[in-house]
């Protein structure tokens, strides 16, 4: 049981890490037209965070395989919704994104649904 908690926790953390890293790599880009696309995409490829994102993306798949090795899909899959919550919090911390009432209560509902799955 303890092992499965650690595995699912890493799935959630690594999934959020991948998304946040990609955001770091692309959020300074200014793609306003098709001509901008190639030079701006090149800038993103040179950004170290995109490679952290790639590594996290691949690790995410490996840890997910490990999770499915021990857990039911119908149990493990809903738990990954916590990564949405982490991503929203990271958006607030790193990119000054806004969290209004709807986002806050949406996060609470997700965490409640996940807790229900974990402790039933």
């Amino acid at each position: 049981m303890m092992a499965s908690v650690w595995i699912i926790l890493s799935v959630i953390l690594i999934r959020a890490l991948a998304d946040i890293s990609f955001k770091f790599a692309v959020h300074h880009l200014e793609i306003n037209s098709f001509q901008d696309f190639m030079p701006e995409a090149w800038k993103a490829l040179k950004h170290p965070m995109i490679w952290l994102g790639v590594v996290a993306g691949i690790s995410n798949f490996l840890v997910w395989v490990l999770a499915l090795n021990y857990l039911d899909l119908s149990f493990a899959y809903p738990l990954t919704a916590v990564s949405y919550v982490l991503t929203i919090v990271a958006g607030r911390v790193f990119f000054h994104e806004h969290i209004d009432d709807k986002k806050f209560w949406g996060m609470v509902l997700i965490l409640f649904g996940v807790a229900l799955m974990m402790f039933s």
Binding site: L68, S74, P78, K102, M107, M117
Partner: protein, 134 residues
Amino acid sequence: MFIRRLIAFVFLPILLASSAEFLLKATINSGTQVASFADLFRVFLNPRVDVSIALIVISGVLWLVGMSKFELSFMYPFLTINFVIIIFGSHFFLGEPLQIYKYFSIGFIAMGLWLISKSKYSVVKYDEEKGQLK
């Protein structure tokens, strides 16, 4: 054609992603046990695992194209379909138990995602004047 775009860039990626999960789990269940670190990399040699990776990648690309065609707040509630397909599919294809708390759990998660998508900060609009995303 709104309906065609909806099928191609919203429903199709959802279907592909959940099919990939079922294929992956079925493959792991049918004896591809992961007991060591080396086993974890050996699963890539299994063609069924490779097919499921391909499905996940294609699904991700289609979903990204969808992001450019529809508003984020429109796309996000469709994510909840994933959870529904996964718990019912796990029961019918993989024989996993479908307890009542699973319905409630994905119900709360779905409501949460729906509420988040209704936030005004979840809407990305194209700014005609500045010629960029707002």
